[in-house]
């Protein structure tokens, strides 16, 4: 050390001020023993030196200076920091040549030049190996040496201003290397090329990388030297291979394989004689870094020998790692390119192989296919009416055989095209006709899909040469495609002419194709992923084939498409034959074979398309028949072995769906099937099955999405799912299981495996969900709808039966009030109110039960018996309502129907005529339907229909125009089919005996007319039609009977004094075997007959009629009762059924009351005197008719006294079971006695009433009453000359009445006065009018009535004094006089007692 410690640091002298400018270096300069240097103590320094030192120390720029003969060294703080390093403070005060001994060779000459010439030097980025850090260090400096002059101007020293450039220079060099590495002009290269390029770049920087070795891991065991720079071949430090696990290996490969970087010291055997790169000495260390690969073991490692003249700092390490990273990236890219290349080659190879394969095998396929399809056709014919299941299986085989055949043919076409072996025969055809013909094949399928189909194919001007078979495939493929991707709108096929081309378009309004997909539309096996389609089936080969085929025709096909708007394919075919090979042309087809019969090739296309369309328009869950019996192996500990396990199968392929269903069904599962994931989700939500078996690939919602959706819903999260997929491979199954599927099965699978997996999944899931399922099973097992309501009335839980009954499933929970099943308040306020009442009860009462109307989800009316109880939720303690609904709709309607029918029947049965039946029925219907009114219009051929209405008196012309139109319209409709005309009512037509009848119900406001009402109305009206027919028949019968009765029962005109009654036993007939008759005889006497034939009803009436007529004729011939009966005996003997008829026959003299009579076994007549005594006319009695014809009959005589009453009758009146006849006769006598003061007709009614048994007469009854004398009835002109004859007649009648003379006189006076008044008024006001007088005698009373047509004046004694006297006389003579004046005349009614 030059610095002399023992010299010590002298006390700071005045010279120390020289170093004061810098607080860092200054103190160190101050303690230098300057006296020992040629410069001497600072105090003695010349001013020039002091100034130079001051400048040096005060500068922030790194500087040093040398002064004096030894060029003594000074530096400032910046220089110390940047450059001097470990030489500070030793260097201070020492000779410069000593301080920078290691670079003196470089700088010495420069300093000499400065000192000798006095001119400054300039060096930029001069490489200097400084030993400031304990080793020779590569450094770069930019500096200038300037001369320093003493006070005398001589150059005595130099000042060096320096800046170090080491970082910049080294950094630039490394950056250049990295840039070179990245400057590769080629895009992709092989791995080797890439490494060679990188090597060339690294070789250009042997300073930072004296040598490099790139090792790549070949396999798990060995690393191979792939590239080297700066290293001669065969050097022991660069072995061609390196076992990874060899701990003694040259390089630590194992650590590198783990991705670690290792710094290796290059000493020891293998490293002797290492190349030095651009340096004099070989490197001492190498940094070995991994060539990292994303996510896995490194590709290999890079050995980077390190510049021994630079420290391994972050920058250096980063540089090496970047180089390694670049190499790794290059390898990755090269390998990836290689892999792609290989794959492309493989694919091409595969494609070639496939084509070859298909071309070879397609033929091979066709043979077995033929052998399948042929016998299959045979089998289908034979077993056409065989077992259902066999037929279904055959259908599946047939359809899939067709499909396979189509696929094979398509592939064969391709291989032919590819091999250039397509044998085409182009013949001239009418392209429009051929195309239209082909299109028509698809019409049914398109119609069924609900799309419109527009075929516009006008004839073209000239024929187009096509190969029929190929053209068929072109059009069918395009149509098939259009149908598959079109869900609504239309499909259009058009043919037109454009210049020299025929243009054929097939356009749809389907889902369209996105612009990104368009370029690849016609690529083979290209299918657009996730496109919404009718089927996920398809090979993606159709459009490619179409393009090839069109190409063979020398034509083009293009597609225009817009997403969600549709796709149009346009084919352009040139006219003529120039574009076609001459040897493939054929003449036009024989026209005899007709134009283009569509070949059988079309069938598979259409068959396939039809399979995409739902057979049943509703996407409901299809359920197969219940399983034959539960498989013992599929038992359920929770539900017991009897519970069938329900499996939901979701697959878009109908055949696969059917196959799975049959397989599972056969194993005892109850199977439901759906077409896609969306339907499956709905089905599971509605009613969770025990297992879902789902295909992965499905339209609308695939299997994975289905699983996701199920798992996200707590209600369905526990439902196990078994996924089926055609995608093999670990990834696919992991994806499925990650989505939450319970199991995953790859198609094709063995049936046994599927069943095993299904069973395992079901059992596992059953164990997991035992408790919950037990509860659910319990609730679901209830046949009644079960629900739980929270406090607000929202339904939060329901069971299966609830959904079954109301149509609302668990997917809609919770159902908040007003619940959707409430009847509509607008259209049915009454029903709405009933439900609202129950709901209020439900919330406010502990329990209850009611029958209420509700509305099913599909809108139909239900009647349910609702029962509810309040309960506490054990978990939350909240109040809930638990209730049940029982569907009593059928009972309700049955009761309603029965009640209505019974009421209507009753009405109809009560009616005795057609109009009455109809009117009664209308009333009943009005009540039943709560109708405002009910109308019935009978179109009976009149000018206007006959109207019957519940509003009495309503006529057709009273109806509004609207009603008349509605009724006339209804008449055109079929019978018994109700038609509701909203606003004015419901009409229905039925048959009325007189013509069609339109019945019209005007319902109340908002009274809905639902299906059940229709049924009920039809039923009732049907019943009514029958009832009307019956009433009509009865009407006819009765009319017949009445006509008969009029003809045979009794005389059309009864003589005065008689009253008769007839009561038939057989209603509604009003005739029977009994009769009465009066026969006016020429001598003024009257024949009286009452008879009784055996039996009743029409037959008896017929006999009776004959006897009556005969009897009447006999009496007229010989007015002798006994003679008449004797003749009648003979007559009756000739009539079957007339034997034993009883007859009372009499001849009455009405003047005297003398009666001759004879009885043929008839009950005795009863004669009642005015005083009430009775006498039986039991004389003249003999046997009934025709028993002994020819036998003499007795005859008796008697006189009917004045005011006595004669009663004749048949035994129905008096004969009762378990009672002697005499009792009945006594009762009849009493009745006549009691009624002897009544008019004779009133008496007849009284007798019939009094003698009627409680339930009415059960035998015919005929009754005849005569009171003697008959009332006097006279009518005479209002003239005074009439008075005397009238008086005479009255006097005679009064004498018949057996009255005292004075009484007679009084009555005559009263009657005379009344008549005189009548005549007087008649004369005065209306001359020629008549006056009517009637006199009737009762047992103890007499009644006189005199009526005129004039008006009496009140008594005016002064003008007509005697008239007032007349009235006074009347009042004096009679006990009661009533004079009743009226507009039509005056009536005088007078009574007097006569007993």
């Amino acid at each position: 050390m030059a610095r002399s410690e023992d010299a010590g640091r002298g006390p700071l002298t005045a010279g120390a001020g020289v170093f004061a400018a810098d607080g860092e270096v200054g103190p160190d300069l101050a303690v230098v023993d300057w006296a020992a240097t040629p410069l001497g103590p600072p105090d003695d320094w010349p001013q020039s030196l002091r100034t130079a030192v001051s400048i040096l120390l005060s500068s922030r720029f790194p500087m040093w200076m040398a002064w004096g003969p030894e060029l003594t060294f000074f530096c400032n703080a910046a220089y110390r920091r940047d450059t001097l390093g470990r030489k500070y403070p030793w260097a201070l005060g020492r000779p410069a040549s000593e301080v920078w001994a290691e670079i003196w060779d470089d700088i010495g000459p420069r300093i000499d030049t400065v000192l000798s010439t006095g001119e400054a030097t300039w060096d930029e980025a001069l490489l200097l190996f400084l030993e400031r850090s304990g080793y020779p260090e590569e450094s770069y400096h930019t500096f200038s040496y300037s001369p320093l002059r003493d006070d005398g101007g001589a150059v005595v020293g130099m000042l060096c201003v320096v800046s170090e450039d080491t970082e910049r220079v080294v950094g630039q060099r490394r950056m250049a290397s990295l840039r070179d590495l990245g400057s590769d002009p080629s895009v992709v290269r092989t791995e080797q090329e890439m490494l060679a390029f990188a090597g060339r770049q690294l070789d250009r920087n042997l300073r930072d990388l004296p040598f490099t070795l790139t090792y790549l891991f070949e396999d798990d065991a060995v690393a191979r030297l792939a590239a080297a720079t700066g290293m001669p071949a065969g050097h022991p430090a660069a072995p061609p291979t390196l076992p990874i696990d060899d701990a003694a290996g040259v390089w630590p490969a194992a650590a590198l394989a783990r991705g670690e970087s290792v710094l290796v010291a290059l000493d020891g055997a293998p490293f002797t004689g290492l190349p030095a790169g651009d340096w004099p000495e070989p490197p001492t260390h190498a940094l070995v870094v991994p060539l990292l690969q994303q996510g896995t073991t490194p590709y290999g490692f890079l050995v980077a020998a390190l510049n021994r003249y630079r420290p391994l700092d972050d920058g250096y390490r980063g540089f090496v790692e970047l180089v390694a990273g670049h190499i790794a990236a290059g390898i990755a890219s090269a390998r990836s390119y290689q892999a792609q290349q290989r794959r492309a080659e493989e694919l091409a190879e595969l494609d070639r192989a496939k084509t070859t394969f298909f071309s070879n095998i397609s033929h091979e396929f066709r043979t077995p296919l033929t052998l399948i399809m042929g016998p299959l056709a045979e089998l289908r014919t034979q077993l056409g009416d065989g077992d259902e299941r066999v037929r279904e299986e055959l259908e599946v085989i047939h359809r899939n055989g067709l499909r396979l055949g189509k696929l094979v043919n398509t592939l064969l076409d391709f291989s032919r095209i590819e091999a250039g072996r397509m044998q085409a025969h182009y013949e001239p055809v009418d392209l429009a006709a051929v195309t239209a013909e082909l299109a028509s094949v698809f019409r049914s399928a398109i119609d069924r899909a609900g799309l419109s189909f527009d075929v516009d194919c006008p004839a073209l001007p000239e024929p187009v040469y096509i190969d029929r078979g190929m053209w068929e495939k072109v059009i069918l493929n395009l149509l098939s495609n259009a149908l598959k991707f079109t869900f609504d709108g239309s499909i259009r096929v058009g043919v037109r002419c454009e210049d020299t081309q025929a243009v054929v378009t097939v356009a749809d309004t389907g889902i369209g194709v996105s612009p990104e997909e368009m370029p690849r539309l016609f690529e083979r096996f290209r299918r657009i992923e996730n496109a919404r389609s009718r089927s996920n089936e398809g090979s993606g080969i159709g459009l490619a084939l179409v393009q090839e085929l069109v190409g063979l025709h020398g034509g083009t096909i293009t597609a225009d498409s817009a997403l969600d708007e549709g796709t149009t394919f346009t084919i352009r075919l040139p006219f003529g034959t120039d574009h076609l090979p001459a040897d493939a042309l054929a003449p036009a087809a024989d026209s005899a074979t007709g134009p283009a019969a569509v070949s059988s090739a079309a069938a598979p296309y259409v068959q396939e398309a039809l399979r995409w369309l739902p057979a049943d328009p509703s996407p409901e869950v299809a359920r197969d028949a219940p399983p034959p019996a539960a498989d013992a192996s599929v038992t359920d500990p929770a539900r017991g072995p009897a519970a069938p396990v329900r499996v939901l199968v979701a697959d878009d392929n109908a055949d696969m769906r059917g196959y799975l269903a049959r397989l599972l069904h056969g194993a005892g599962y109850q199977v439901d099937t759906v077409d896609d994931g969306r339907q499956a989700l709905e089905a599971v939500r509605a009613d969770a099955p025990d297992l879902v078996v789902s295909d992965v690939m499905m339209p609308h919602m695939d299997g994975l999405q289905l699983v996701g959706a199920l798992r996200n819903d707590p209600r369905t999260a526990a439902v196990p799912v078994l996924l089926l997929s055609a995608r093999a491979g670990e990834d696919a199954s992991i994806e499925g299981l990650q989505a939450g599927a319970d199991d995953y099965l790859v198609k094709p699978f063995a049936a046994a495996e599927l069943l095993a997996r299904v069973r395992a999944s079901v059992e596992l899931s059953r164990l997991r969900n035992h408790h919950a399922r037990w509860r659910t099973a319990l609730i679901d097992s209830l046949q009644e709808a079960f629900f739980v309501c929270d406090e607000s009335g929202a339904v939060v839980e329901i069971n299966t039966a609830f959904t079954d009954i109301l149509g609302y499933g668990p997917e809609g929970l919770p159902y908040t009030p007003l619940h959707p099943w409430w009847p509509d308040a607008e259209t049915d306020p009454e029903a709405h109110r009933q439900v609202a009442d129950v709901f209020a009860d439900l919330l406010n009462r502990n329990q209850g039960s009611r029958i209420i109307p509700v509305t099913h989800r599909d809108g139909h009316r239900l009647w349910i018996s609702a029962t509810f109880n309040q309960a506490q939720d054990p978990d939350t303690g909240r109040r809930v309502v638990v209730g049940t609904f029982r569907d009593v709709t059928a009972e309700h309607y049955a009761v309603q129907r029965e009640t209505a029918l019974a009421a209507l029947s009753l009405r109809l049965s009560q009616a005795v005529s057609l109009p009455e039946a109809l009117a009664g029925a209308l009333e009943e219907l009005k009540t039943l339907w709560r109708a405002r009114r009910v109308l019935a219009a009978v179109f009976d051929g009149g000018d206007t229909p006959s109207l019957t209405a519940t509003d009495p008196g309503l006529r057709w012309d009273d109806l509004s125009e609207r009603h008349r139109t509605a009724l006339l319209g209804q008449r055109q409709r079929p019978s018994l089919t109700p038609t509701a005309d909203h606003g004015i009512g419901v009409g229905i037509t039925l048959e009325h005996p007189h013509g069609p009848l339109v019945l019209w119900l005007e319902l109340g406001d908002h009274r809905p007319f639902v299906d059940q009402d229709q049924v009920l109305l039809s039923l009732l009206v049907g019943h009514l039609a029958q009832g009307l027919t019956r009433a009509h028949q009865i009407d006819q019968q009765r009319e017949t009977a009445l006509a008969l009765q009029r003809a045979i029962l009794g005389p059309s005109h009864l003589p005065d004094g008689f009253a008769v009654r007839y009561e038939p036993a057989t209603r509604p007939l009003e005739v029977g075997g009994d009769w009465y008759d009066t026969v006016p005889l020429p001598d003024g006497r009257i024949g009286i007959v009452v008879g009784d034939c055996v039996g009743r009803g029409l037959q008896a009436a017929a006999i009776m009629g004959q006897l009556r007529s005969a009897c009447r004729a006999l009496l007229l011939q010989d007015p002798s009762p006994a003679g008449t009966l004797m003749a009648l005996d003979h007559f009756a003997a000739t009539i079957p059924g007339a034997m034993c008829t009883t007859v009372f026959c009499g001849v009455l003299d009405p003047e005297t009351g003398h009666l001759a009579y004879s009885s043929a076994g008839h009950p005795p007549g009863i004669l009642t005197h005015p005083d009430g005594t009775t006498r039986l006319l039991d004389a003249g009695h003999s046997i009934p008719l025709a028993i002994k014809p020819g036998t003499e009959r007795p005859q008796a005589e008697c006189t009917v006294p004045a005011r006595a009453t004669l009663l004749l009758y048949t035994d129905g009146l008096v004969e009762r079971r378990r009672r002697p006849l005499t009792a009945g006769i006594g009762q009849a006598s009493q009745a006549v006695q009691d009624g002897r003061h009544a008019a004779v007709d009133d008496l007849a009614a009284q007798v019939m009433t009094r003698l009627a048994p409680a339930g009415g007469y059960d035998d015919d009854v005929a009754l005849l009453l005569y009171r003697h004398p008959a009332p006097l009835e006279m009518t005479f002109p209002a003239e005074s000359t009439q008075l005397a004859p009238v008086r005479k007649a009255l006097r005679g009648w009064l004498n018949q009445c057996d009255l005292p003379p004075q009484t007679i006189q009084n009555i005559l006076v009263a009657a005379g006065e009344a008549c005189a008044n009548a005549i007087e008024h008649g004369h005065r006001h209306t001359p020629g009018d008549t006056v009517r007088l009637r006199a009737e005698a009762f047992a103890d009373n007499l009644r006189l009535t005199i009526a005129d047509t004039g008006r009496w004046k009140p008594p005016q004694p002064h003008a007509h004094p005697h008239r007032g006297r007349g009235t006074a006389l009347m009042r004096a003579m009679m006990q009661q006089v009533t004079i009743t004046p009226g507009p039509a005349g005056t009536t005088v009614d007078m009574h007097t007692r006569i007993a």
Partner: protein, 96 residues
């Protein structure tokens, strides 16, 4: 036809004029009765014993001439004669 009525004038043994009526008297023949009465000198006895019927019209004729006549009748006519007040105005001889 007019009601049959025969009116026969005569004298009693004492010379008193008598008009005997046979038949019935009603409004159709009162004019005849009245004329017969008016043509007979006073005093006059009207014999109604063979009259079977007499109505108020006949009574009026008699009442108008009550002061110059006497009546002879049977009990059959007695009620009307009494009721009409004739018995109060003149002498009525009721036979039987």
């Amino acid at each position: 036809m007019t009601t049959p009525l025969t009116l026969t004038p005569g004298h009693r043994p004492d010379g008193t004029a008598v008009l005997k009526a046979v038949g019935e008297i009603d409004m159709s023949n009162t004019d005849t009765l009245a004329a017969a009465l008016d043509t007979t000198a006073d005093p006059l006895v009207v014999d109604l014993t063979d009259v079977e019927y007499l109505d108020s019209a006949g009574l009026s004729v008699l009442l108008a001439r009550a002061e110059r006549i006497e009546l002879v009748a049977t009990s059959l006519l007695a009620p009307v004669l009494t009721i009409s007040g004739l018995t109060d105005l003149t002498t009525v001889h009721v036979l039987d």
